[in-house]
Symmetry: D2
Subunit: 287 residues, 4 copies
């Protein structure tokens, strides 16, 4: 079948007031657009914050974003909106960060090549050389930044310089270093991490070991945006799997691998498709 025509995604957040949906949908109509999907959420019945994700396409190909934007800008100003307009045919650029474990990396690359993740991957960054061959197998540039206690700040500056102009968002695919504050500042709401526990349980290091010690009957994984506070950023997605008394730490890690890659893949996909809006330390996810 022919490819679906490219759509636009309009993302809005603003104080909830009467008439927003009418005003927005009128702009789309007048600019020749047809809404193909719309999701909205208010944090409260009255007086809350309003979030909207509107996907539309222009019925006449010659119609364009300039026309829409000129109509929409005054509406957005009137309702005090934060907003952005995204084209589905302009894929985001995703930089991958890895260390030694390959399961999340391989899973993301496989989904990318199979067309499931509509994204560009300009480069892979690692603090270990182990996964260079995987990158090579996919024809992707691999940059090694060995990090020790003394050189982290300098190495991170070099990473940031390398990334500048090349990446829209970063995915920490089991990257086992805590990124410094300069990263969080530069890529606010644009760094996705996978943590190998159902947060807020087992924040920090060695969650599987601690899950084993505690004797839990489910283990989990959490994909979240990175903020300055370790493992406390807005959660995008979580899932769990059952374990029992037979499972040693090594078994938890095996079972956890399957969880981690699926939870991370979902979060990355939703981020790419602009389905995730951050609100304080929480997320609205229009799946």
């Amino acid at each position: 079948m022919p490819p679906a025509p490219p759509t636009r995604v309009l993302l809005i957040s603003c104080p909830d007031r009467q008439g927003i949906v009418a005003a927005v949908s009128l702009c789309v109509l007048e600019a020749g657009g047809n809404i193909v999907r719309s999701d909205q959420h208010s944090t409260d019945l009255l007086g809350g914050v309003f979030f909207m994700r509107l996907e539309f396409l222009y019925l006449e190909p010659e119609q364009g974003d300039a026309d829409f934007t000129s109509r929409f800008a005054p509406v957005a100003a009137h309702y005090e909106m934060d907003w952005r307009l995204v084209r589905s045919d302009q894929p985001k650029r995703m930089a991958l960060f890895v260390s030694r474990l390959d399961h999340c990396l391989i899973d993301l690359l496989w989904r990318w090549r199979s067309g499931e993740l509509a994204v560009k991957i300009p480069l892979i960054i690692s603090n270990h050389p182990d996964l260079e061959a995987v990158a090579a197998g996919y024809g992707l540039p691999f940059y090694l930044f060995a990090i020790d206690r003394d050189n982290q700040a300098g190495q991170e500056e070099r990473m940031l310089a390398l990334l500048e102009g090349q990446a829209d968002f970063l995915v920490l695919a089991r990257y086992m270093r805590i990124l410094g504050p300069r990263f969080v500042e530069r890529y606010c709401g644009q760094i996705i991490n996978i943590h190998h526990s159902f947060l807020p349980a087992f924040i920090g290091a060695s969650p599987y070991e601690r899950a084993y010690e505690r004797g839990v009957k489910v283990i989990g994984a959490t994909a979240h945006y990175v903020t300055a506070a370790l493992d406390e950023g807005p959660i995008i997605e979580q899932d769990v799997t059952r374990v029992n008394h037979r499972d040693q730490v090594a078994d938890l890690k095996l079972k956890g691998r399957d969880l981690e890659r699926i939870v991370l893949a979902r979060a990355v996909k939703w981020h790419i498709e602009d389905r995730v809006l951050i609100y304080g330390n929480r997320t609205v996810v229009f799946t």
Copy 2:
């Protein structure tokens, strides 16, 4: 906290065309309404069927449905809409049908009394006397219609006469008789059944016995609208649970009870809240 003000739910289906959302939301705005939740779905990107569920409230209490309806009727006609407007403060009337198994009945009654199901229950109908005491415990009228091979048509006529004017929809909470065509005709899209398998597997009688024979590793339950074709109506909700080689038929039934009551409760709740739209033999469920 004070009760939430009553809302309106507007349900629409029509051929998908440009401008529907703008036209509908303008009507709501002009009638003094504020949209608190909106969900929509198109069966195709272009040229499909459009479904919408719009929940709104009037900001001024004196405003009313007459005003809205007079504005909306021409819009609805223009877009060839099937539509209805429902008030959240006018609970539907639910008639329960049971036989001998009590788990679905008790679960629904408990949810109803706890306020989870905003519904009226005018009566309980059964073909067996077993559950009369349960009905009495909740102060609900219980009508026994013993049915054998010869009297089914006549008994069903009497049931229909009893129900007339008393019930908006019927829930078959493990009612172990197949309702005749007169019922399906009278309550089209208004009879919810719980089938104890993950349909379309194990259509018909004795699904747990047949699941055991087949050696499945999951069992399921399915809530669906009743149509003339047995167990083939539009599915509202399904869920499953794991089983293993240790589970005899009796164990499947025990595990299945927990599934059935939860799947049925979800379907009933969504129906009550007008979240389910039927489309051919499928459902759109705005959860």
Copy 3:
């Protein structure tokens, strides 16, 4: 069909050594028993702790436990076993503790009356009068022990005196008071609590409120044995359900109710059937 003949459950824990299974199964054989189910677990391949649950029945009704015990006692001494022998036809006595929320209580009582839980219920204890009618509906004695800051120790003494000789184990079915140390001492490994979060996340008060604040995408429930450290006892069972940005705290509580009752019911059933062995702060659960 006729009822299954009563079985014996033999529970063993001891240092893992060669020959245990042979020695134990020989005792069963010589005492005229036939093993109908056997589960075992070693914490390590070599040098760990060995756990066994052996279910058997005597092929000749006149055979008895005295014979078995006289054969088994020297074996048990030789292998330094902790052990006990339980008859499936001597149901345990379960005392229920409740406060105001009824969902766990009603669920346990329904399972009990339907025959799913082979247990005696001598009494229900509460610190609030709210659920007295539920107890009465099942013909069960209900004892009210109103508790405030000043009288807790005294009230708990009176509860303990009332329970003495009447209860084998206690189930806290959303009992919203922390039991004092005298209880934990007297009923060590015999008090089951349901906590409304996936522990160790949200230990302590108001877990649903805190889950909402944290923006988690799954909520959970945990059944565990009560120890002196709040919410830190051995976990018997956990499960979770998905939530999203639409779920307010009230929605989490509704969804959580279904989780809590199912997780608690499983834990109680496994305890009744002697499937749970405590090992340090962890459990071995032979499901």
Copy 4:
């Protein structure tokens, strides 16, 4: 840590009688073995079929299987056992069959290389050239047997000749041809297939299309042994995932890929570890 010493897995099925466990465990003890895991199952409390999986290791390395076998053979004869003894350090040889879809293949190869699947892979067979590069990337021989209506029998003879002496079992990792009867005869109970539905729903072709048509709310995948009756062999494992009205057939396929690879991987792992016993058209799976 050092590798675990190699264990033996003893698999038994026989008519259930008194004394089996004692007799078997005595043989293990006298041959110098220590039981590290034992699972058993009877199809009925009395008079059923007894299944056992016993994992043990010799405490003295010089002890061996000949000694055990000479002790065990008369016991096995006495109890009319079907049995086999498997060494954990002699990996099975797994031949993979694929067509064009790569997700199951890539997943199995990744698990194999990461050490999760203790197996040898002598070769990959396909009826399409598409996945040759994947095989090459793992250094595995790839054999193309193009099949059309006229040459299937001949091609299958050639495949069988190629496999002879090279493979212990076959995995159909989305191999989209029905294997002929000669295969089923030669590899009885040794061919694992992944079917992309929760069998017995949607037996045969195009299950995702039919699931979409039926409007199900869950889709599933089933790993089973291949028998002469299409999609009706003993089920090893099943799992499901939720779908909704937004999911088109293409979405079901995407979601299904994740299910298929995980369900197949579990089944393959359990088969490799001799955890699956076939009983009529059902399986006992000692996980």
